[in-house]
């Protein structure tokens, strides 16, 4: 994973605690079980996220194997400049943004709609079948999903290609066309993860007080109005938190999938930062350069996280911090 070349990750969620008031001792005495439960998570983040961060300095040094990770000569911003001056800089940035934002927007809305829909299905059994059917694809390996895409979208023998032909989509090479890459990527991504991501919303919806529905029905609300005035407000907090969290990883487009779907025809739109780092860092073993690009990526992610949080606090009074 290209990402693992970069020690920096998005900061993990800190346990939400009150500000330190006098009486912290009493607080600990009272809640020590909760602290104990959160300890492994804190330890994990500290050991695997914060400790390796010292490796970030590799981005500002010449990687010299003999001198160790931190022993190379200081290179300053040389590698950042090299990246900014590279003819590939803007295309990479653009491709990464396009794929990331489309996935973010579509991938954020779809599970909500699905959850609202499943929630409306009467009959426990049908509901369960529907739910299981939608979240099963989540467990298919990425490699297999791309293999399925290759088979279904094969320009001459693909199932989907042939099914779409009567609708005037004849002769489109879905695997190679630059215009088709993002739709294929996003739609297959939604198909795969939509059901899984809707579980958390369903959980939130199941907590809605049935009295609310009854009160609304007494007031003459129809089904859509029920959704609009009862269901949606009850999942807003969950939506906001999830949106902020996904914002933090907005540029970490699914490396494996892009990498597997890449070919010479769609390269102009499918070369993203992650695949470039992989090619440069792993295949040409230029660790300093790859670290610099990865760090740049992380800084942008961080900015998005802060911005998303600020906007959420303004708009909906819900935020991480």
């Amino acid at each position: 994973m290209a990402e693992s070349l970069v020690a920096a990750r998005k900061p993990a969620r800190k346990p939400v605690t009150g500000a330190r008031r006098p009486g912290a001792g009493r607080h600990v005495r009272r809640y020590w079980q909760l602290w104990l439960m959160v300890l492994p998570a804190v330890g994990f983040v500290a050991v695997f996220m914060y400790v390796p961060m010292y490796g970030i300095q590799l981005a500002f040094r010449e990687f010299d194997f003999a001198a160790g990770l931190t022993g190379g000569d200081w290179a300053g911003l040389k590698y950042f400049r090299q990246f900014f001056d590279s003819p590939l800089f803007w295309p990479l940035l653009k491709n990464t943004f396009v794929i990331a934002f489309t996935t973010l927007v579509v991938g954020f809305v779809a599970p909500i709609l699905l959850a609202l829909m499943i929630n409306q299905i009467a009959g426990g059994r049908r509901k369960r079948v529907m739910q299981t059917a939608t979240y099963l694809p989540h467990f298919i390996s990425i490699v297999v999903v791309v293999g399925m895409l290759q088979a279904f979208l094969n320009p001459s023998t693909g199932l989907l290609t042939r099914a779409l032909a009567p609708f005037g989509l004849d002769g489109v090479n879905f695997l190679g066309d630059t215009a088709a890459f993002v739709p294929v990527y996003v739609i297959s991504d939604v198909w795969q993860h939509c059901g899984w991501n809707s579980i958390i919303y369903l959980a939130a919806l199941s907590r809605v007080d049935p009295q609310l529905y009854e009160a609304a029905k007494v007031d003459g609300a129809n089904r859509l109005q029920l959704i609009r005035h009862v269901d949606v407000p009850s999942i807003v907090p969950t939506m906001v938190i999830l949106l902020i969290l996904t914002m933090g990883g907005v540029l970490n487009t699914g490396f494996e999938k892009v990498w597997l779907m890449q070919n010479n025809l769609n390269l102009p739109v499918s070369e993203v930062i992650a695949t470039y780092v992989y090619k440069i860092g792993i295949f040409s073993t230029q660790f300093s350069y790859a670290t610099a690009i990865g760090l740049f990526n992380t800084v942008i992610n961080f900015a998005f996280l802060i911005a998303a949080n600020a906007i959420a606090r303004r708009v909906s009074n819900w935020s991480l911090w």
């Binding site: 994973m1 693992s4 695997f48 990687f63 194997f65 003999a66 090299q82 590279s86 003819p87 590939l88 369960r128 739910q131 299981t132 467990f139 290759q150 094969n154 320009p155 001459s156 090479n173 695997l175 190679g176 579980i199 890449q262 070919n263 010479n264 025809l265 390269l267 102009p268 070369e271 470039y276 090619k279 440069i280 860092g281 792993i282 295949f283 040409s284 073993t285 230029q286 660790f287 350069y289």
Partner: protein
């Protein structure tokens, strides 16, 4: 609803990554002197080392226990982390598992064998017999970190050209000799029922091996550059070639443009597989093997007819000579010269600088290059897969399983071409059918290959050791350059437009630092040519 145990995908990937890392950092390299750790980078088909006899003989010779670490997937990723962590097993076996570029950065991890040659009589004799191998293994500063090998029997080229003779006969056509004739033949393949199964639309006139985003390789249309007399090596790689001692890159060469134009003409007429740019290797291979006795592909490239089209269809195809770009041209045709990489495989075995038992490790390295051990490593155990007729005569036995082709068989029963070998020039070996076939199917290409002066028309990539700074610069510029070039290659063939975009494209590739790279390659070549 029943919830499965929740483990986010990312956490899973991280966890998997951790176990992978933990897997390759068992730090006992400076440990037990009675155990040698040997990492072998083998083919996915190869059975476990414990099923072979020759590794046991190696243990006897070295007088220690050998612990084999067998890796056949994701080697590139594992390698980076392993080297960066400085954790190297006693020996690393595998052709080019550690490349010259790796040595540029990590040479301190490996033992310099230049001063140990007295303990390696077989290697010493190999260097005496094949001086080019000595110069290949030795850095300009005199160290030898990786020992190459010699395989002797491989044909000068890996890529052979085939056409379906049965189809030609059925349609009353002759084997084409020029691009135009090929075009005419392919049109007939497309429009007639060439394979005679009653369906006029299931023939694929032309197909080639998937071209990756990192450049060209074997069985790809880059060999058509030979028609316009541009000499390439190893299938084309990143486009660098040598012509009369001058380095160039065909990606910006007018002759490459001609090849693209011809291929676009074919594609536009529907003569090339629609999936040619998007299929993967297994799909390409499956199509080539048709169904039963019915062939699907008319004209293609491959290692041997049986390997490319399967045993059932192989006899329908004939090997062809390179095509002329136009009838009566004066430019002599060329082909791709691969003998260096095949017969002189580089960096086959390296020793850790911190091995716990250097004497035993030296014995193992030396044993690999022994006459009979080399045969066993390449083709399998003596007595089981290779028959000893006399001290000077050996016979590679056909696969015990009749359904398996000899090449697959070899990769299954031993580490084959991945292992360090020196096949002596003074022994007789009855070769397996696939190698025989490949040598035979090289015949039509002989003349074109003879048009290439090995010293002036083939860039000696394998024989040159570069400095890390240069390797970095080459890698960086190539990545940028290929991002443009490989995209355009695919686009021009499928959609056309090479004529209008050529000037701008050349400019773009030049901007990626092409000239700098050409100069670097030229400098190294000039230095190398001086020492010859």
């Amino acid at each position: 609803m029943t919830t499965p145990p929740v483990l986010s995908r990312r956490a899973f990937v991280v966890a998997a990554g951790l176990t992978a890392l933990a897997g390759c950092s068992s730090r006992n390299s400076a440990g037990d002197p009675n155990t040698l750790r040997i990492l072998v980078n083998k083919h996915p088909l190869t059975k476990p080392i414990s099923t072979m006899e020759w590794p046991k003989q190696l243990e006897k010779i070295a007088g220690v226990k050998i612990q084999w670490q067998e890796i056949s997937a994701d080697w590139d990723q594992k390698k980076s982390t392993m080297l960066a962590a400085g954790d190297v097993p006693d020996l690393i076996v595998g052709t080019n598992a550690i490349t010259n570029a790796d040595l540029g950065t990590y040479r301190t991890l490996f033992e310099n064998l230049a001063d140990d040659l007295d303990a390696l009589p077989n290697v010493k004799a190999l260097f005496a017999a094949k001086p080019e191998l000595k110069s290949m293994a030795t850095l300009t500063t005199g160290e030898v970190y990786a020992v190459p090998g010699y395989k002797r029997f491989w044909p000068t080229t890996v890529t052979h050209q085939y056409i379906n003779k049965q189809w030609l006969d059925r349609l009353g056509l002759k084997v084409p000799t020029t691009w135009d004739e090929l075009y005419t033949v392919l049109v007939a393949f497309k429009e007639e029922d060439a394979n005679g199964n009653g369906d006029k639309n299931d023939e694929i006139p032309m197909d080639w091996s998937p071209v990756g985003t990192g450049g060209f390789g074997y069985f790809q249309p880059s060999v058509l550059l030979g028609s316009v007399g541009l000499p390439i090596a190893g299938g084309g790689g990143q486009g660098y070639f040598l012509e009369d001692g001058k380095v160039g890159n065909f990606l910006v060469d007018e002759r490459y443009k001609r090849v693209i134009q011809f291929l676009h003409r074919c594609y536009a007429a529907g003569l090339i597989s629609k999936n040619v740019m998007t299929q993967d290797y297994s799909a390409y291979q499956a199509v080539g093997r048709g169904s039963g006795k019915v062939a699907k592909v008319g004209f293609s490239w491959g290692w041997t007819a049986s390997d490319r089209f399967g045993a059932e269809l192989a006899d329908q195809y004939v090997a062809m000579a390179p095509l002329l770009a136009e009838a009566g041209q004066t430019t002599p045709v060329t082909w791709t010269y691969d003998s260096y990489s095949e017969n002189f495989p580089s960096n086959q075995i390296l020793m850790s600088a911190r091995t716990s038992n250097k004497q035993a490790a030296l014995k193992v390295v030396n044993a690999f290059y022994d006459k009979e051990m080399s045969l066993q490593v390449l083709w399998g155990d003596l007595g089981r897969y290779v028959k000893k007729v006399s001290d000077k005569e050996y016979e590679v036995l056909p696969p015990a399983d009749a359904k398996v082709d000899p090449s697959t068989w070899k990769w299954t029963v031993t580490i084959a071409d991945a292992g360090p070998v020196w096949i002596r020039d003074d022994i007789e070996v009855k070769l397996p059918a696939d190698l025989d076939e490949a040598v035979e199917q090289t015949e039509p290409l002989k003349k074109a290959l003879a048009n290439m002066d090995v010293n002036k028309d083939v860039y000696p990539f394998q024989f040159i050791q570069m400095k890390p700074d240069d390797t970095n610069q080459l890698g960086l510029n190539d990545t940028t350059m290929l991002n443009t070039a490989m995209t355009k290659f695919a686009e021009w063939i499928t959609k056309g437009g090479v004529e209008d975009q050529w000037g701008q494209y050349v400019q773009q590739v030049q901007n990626a630092g092409l000239q700098k790279n050409i100069d670097t390659y030229q400098r190294y070549y000039d230095e190398y040519a001086k020492t010859r």
